[in-house]
Symmetry: none
Subunit: 205 residues, 4 copies
DNA sequence: TATGAATGAGCTTTCATTCAT
DNA sequence: CATGAATGAAAGCTCATTCAT
């Protein structure tokens, strides 16, 4: 009974399907995507999907979780520990730019999450997804607090407001990157530098 | 042949329908919304929709245009001319906060636009929508350039980057407002002050 | 607003569909019947079924109720009031033989009810159906009690047992009628006479 | 080559599967039962079913045959030979009551046969099933004829009609037993006595 | 102009059957 | 022999769109 092997193979196939799902969902959104297309993209029969996922809802939820897990895992890998808090924030920006620049689809699916919010009636899986999103937010809050203590960020401003602004700037830059894709080459390092400068110094004279 | 009256009446009914559509689309998103629901919300028969709109696609597109037009119209009304550029930017922030706080649905439909991006295959109507979005962007760019000349905004930073950050901050604050709705009362004036301070001075020490 | 007409027309179409459903369900049973077939039999599109019935379950339930209502209605019409109880019982037998002989399909659907018992998880509609069935049973019990008082049926035997036997004989004769259909002509009057004789006198010497 | 052993083992497993099938089919009916459930009930893999039965149709047919064979076998065992015909009939009644009271599932599957009638397109297996049913009928006919000769049953009534009534009474009593299960304890001996009395003496005064 | 009954293409989901292991 | 992953045909159901009234 080579059970561990079987489990592993099954998990691998699940991933294969989720990658196909990611591709299609991110191109067309949730509702307009037919499971036929995902099956075709994955090179399997439609019925096979149901051996790995309970239903369409489960498939998108799992896929979203998969993306967020991947994002988190790679972020942890990409960012060294024990950096000064502000530098860690800078690394986050850089990482996000690089990650989404390379994973076109991940950003679209990220937007899908937002819209999915409307559709879904708060499944437990959806709540887990929100939790993942909040994790990053909380981590950034911690960093900002640390940076305040270290004298790098002003203390007369609510931490949550700061993080909100930070996330807003980063996400909008990524958004524009996709929207105007092709205009110029998008240089993650330069953009990061710009964002941090803007974020720390402000645009005022 | 009282043509003008007829045209006006027709236009009025179109608006009535679009308001119903706005309500339903913003609650459920595009695909999951059945035209039945919109017809019911508008108090008309399903077939009647097709007298005013070519198809479902046309209905959502028109509704989105309607929303953006309304936004633009009210913004023009709300913001006095001949203010210093930076103050105009501040008025924009305040207006956006007030507008979306009052028009819950308009924000959701705004997100729908993003996702709609995925759905639609770049209809001409969709492009008009994008154009509307760009109008505001361009206006803000002008303001920033003016503010640079007036010595209120630093000149060593690309105007587009500045506007991008500005929009990102504003939109994210609104996003959080809806996400955490109910937490505290959302005070548009205070939030505006905070955003402008953050935007102009930065968060660094 | 000719509402009554509309309601009537709608009711008429419902009946039309139920008659088609009756035909197909009685031929193939519940599960194996595809709604496509019923739609085709009724000469309408599949989707139209859903304008008149909530789902497949509702369609069979309604059809069964329709059959039982029809049976009841016709039985009431066919059997004169104020007959001696035993004669009324005889009329019931005759009616059942004639009714099912003419309405081939009604018997098969009647059997479907039995099997439906297994499938269904006791919907409220199903319970109403059972209630209909019990009505006839109760009526027969009343008749037997009356006949006892009138000195036509022995009093040393439980009424329910008598009715049970009565129904058993009648239904089995009908069953055989369909099973051996074609053998000889089935003569309802003669069979009725036989059944009553057997029922009243027994087969013993 | 221990062939006989193998054959026996195979036969034993067939029976195991049929018992599982009996359980599930009798609970849910033919079509709604998934082979998955039967495999699970039997503790084997789905594919294994196909090593013992050609297809689903073959499985139900074989199971039904198995039930009827079992019924027949046990009846033969339960009923002594050389009894007076009328007493043999009484023994049949008693046996049926006891058998079905103990084998709840067998009655439900018996009903399934009826409905199966509708489903099946008269497979040869189905015909064999009918033949089994007819065997009992014929046996009862013989008994009645004998009883007539022995002066226990009147001769002015068609044998087939008598048997039909007999079966009808018996089956309906069993039917009621299941339908009102739980009401009172069902006493096979008392019920048998009642049925025979009613059958022989009739209900008339 | 307005209606809403009717349509049927297209969706999600199930499940009998097959076959490589 | 036994398995259970994979298949894909077929089912129930939805809904954008049409059209007779």
């Amino acid at each position: 009974m080579p059970r561990t092997e079987d489990v592993e193979r099954k998990e691998q196939k699940r991933r294969l399907i989720m990658q196909a799902a990611l591709k299609v969902f991110s191109k067309k959104g949730y509702s307009p995507t037919a499971l036929d297309e995902i099956a075709q993209e994955a090179g399997i029969a439609k019925g096979t999907l149901y051996l790995y996922f309970k239903d369409k809802e489960d498939l998108i939820s799992s896929t979203l979780m998969y993306v967020l897990d991947d994002l988190k895992y790679r972020m942890i890998e990409a960012i060294p520990e024990n950096l000064p808090a502000v530098e860690t924030l800078e690394r986050i920006v850089l990482f996000m730019f690089q990650y989404f620049a390379e994973n076109n689809e991940f950003y679209n699916i990220y937007l899908t999450i937002l819209n999915y919010n409307l559709v879904s009636n708060y499944t437990s899986l959806f709540e887990r997804m929100i939790a993942r999103k909040k994790e990053l937010f909380d981590f950034e809050c911690q960093l900002v607090e640390e940076a305040k203590k270290q004298g790098h960020i002003r203390e007369d401003m609510a931490t949550m407001d700061i993080v909100m602004a930070f996330d807003g700037i980063v996400m909008n830059v990524i958004d524009q990157m996709f929207f105007h894709k092709g205009d110029d080459a998008f240089d993650p390092h330069k953009k990061t530098e710009m964002v941090m400068q803007l974020f720390l110094e402000g645009v005022g004279v």
